[in-house]
């Protein structure tokens, strides 16, 4: 069956512009080949990567950049940073490696939950924006903090749905709608999405895009899941545009209540 929904409009973030509303992470795939196929199946044009030490015992192992489709923009993250200072240094390293000024800012405050540190995130956002970075700020789903991050110059707000890699879904989808209502920069739901239903729910709540990694990488069939996520993002986006019906407590018959035929009881 052909999908007959129209194409989703491109999403601007800072001076960048993304055709797809499905951003994809590159961690946890069994092989680089599976990852490449999943990225292609997702139709994404923004993919995250991390920065780590070269393995000096195997310096010639293939680089991840070679397995990322050429139409994709690279979004380096600051995963693993616990202070604003560390995150700023990693952002500098990313820029020094020659792939532009886009950064997914993560300043973590709790190692078990990988919960963002709001104070460090806000501080690093201010500094990196001043230095000319395009900052996509990973944050707890807090409408007040989202507003602070926007005022600090963040180019996108990335509220978590639930802890990174947990697959618990979006625990309070109303927070996504509340954030969306309070900021004008794009809102990207990042972390916790476990299934296409979660991705659709985020988009229905008003998210401008979603970032998915583990849900694709750890699916039994990552390539099929990448396709499903793409369809879910489209469903959620157009569902939000269409405007859902109001909820009501009691039933409301869809069939006429008059003209019932007389049947033997």
């Amino acid at each position: 069956m052909m999908l007959t929904v129209p194409e989703i409009p491109a999403l601007p973030i800072g001076s960048y512009r993304f055709r797809s509303r499905l951003f994809v992470g590159t961690g946890k795939y069994d092989t680089l080949d599976t990852m490449r196929q999943a990225l292609e199946a997702a139709g994404t044009d923004l993919v995250t990567v991390a920065l780590r030490r070269v393995n000096l015992k195997n310096p010639e192992e293939p680089t991840i950049l070679d397995a990322i489709p050429s139409e994709c923009t690279i979004l380096p993250n600051t995963a693993g940073c616990y202070t604003a200072e560390e995150a700023i240094q990693v952002a500098h390293l990313a820029r020094a490696s020659g792939i532009g000024t886009l950064i997914k800012l993560e300043v973590i405050g709790d190692p078990d939950l990988l919960w963002p540190d709001p104070i460090g995130t806000l501080e690093a956002t201010k500094r990196l924006v001043e230095e000319g970075f395009t900052v996509m700020a990973y944050t707890s789903p807090d409408p007040v903090l989202a507003d602070h991050l926007q005022r600090a110059g963040a180019h996108a707000i990335m509220p978590l749905g639930s802890p990174i890699g947990s697959g618990q879904g979006i625990l309070d989808v109303r927070q996504i709608a509340r954030i969306k209502a309070r900021v004008s920069v794009p809102v990207v739901v990042d972390a916790g999405i476990g299934s296409p239903g979660d991705a659709a729910m985020a988009m229905e709540a008003g998210a401008d895009a979603v970032l998915v990694n583990t849900a694709i990488a750890l699916a039994r069939d990552p390539v099929m899941m990448a396709r499903a996520m793409q369809a879910a993002v489209a469903a959620g986006y157009w569902g939000a545009q269409a405007g859902r019906m109001p909820k009501r407590e009691e039933a409301s018959p869809s069939s006429p209540v008059s003209g019932m035929p007389h049947v033997r009881s």
């Binding site: 992470g25 590159t26 961690g27 946890k28 795939y29 990852m35 995250t48 990567v49 991390a50 920065l51 780590r52 030490r53 070269v54 000096l56 310096p59 010639e60 680089t63 991840i64 950049l65 690279i74 380096p76 993250n77 995963a79 500098h92 390293l93 990313a94 020094a96 490696s97 020659g98 792939i99 990174i164 890699g165 972390a191 970032l211 990694n213 583990t214």
Partner: protein, 66 residues
């Protein structure tokens, strides 16, 4: 010359610059970043940036991540 590279103490000979060190480890100069004694080395000056005995060097690259 003794260096600390990515946290490991190593002995190298015939290494005078960051570019030489990358070649020593057979690391492609593309898409890596280098920190020498805490300061980022611009990728355009890898081959001119001198390395001294006792230096601490980090060689960083992109890996999979979310």
């Amino acid at each position: 010359m003794e260096l600390t590279v990515n946290g490991e103490p190593i002995q190298v000979t015939n290494v005078a610059t960051v570019g030489d060190l990358l070649d020593h480890f057979r690391v492609q100069h593309q898409a890596v970043a280098v920190i020498a004694n805490g300061d980022i080395v611009g990728r355009d000056i890898f081959s001119q940036f001198s390395i001294q005995d006792g230096d601490t060097i980090e060689i960083i690259r992109f890996v999979g991540g979310g």
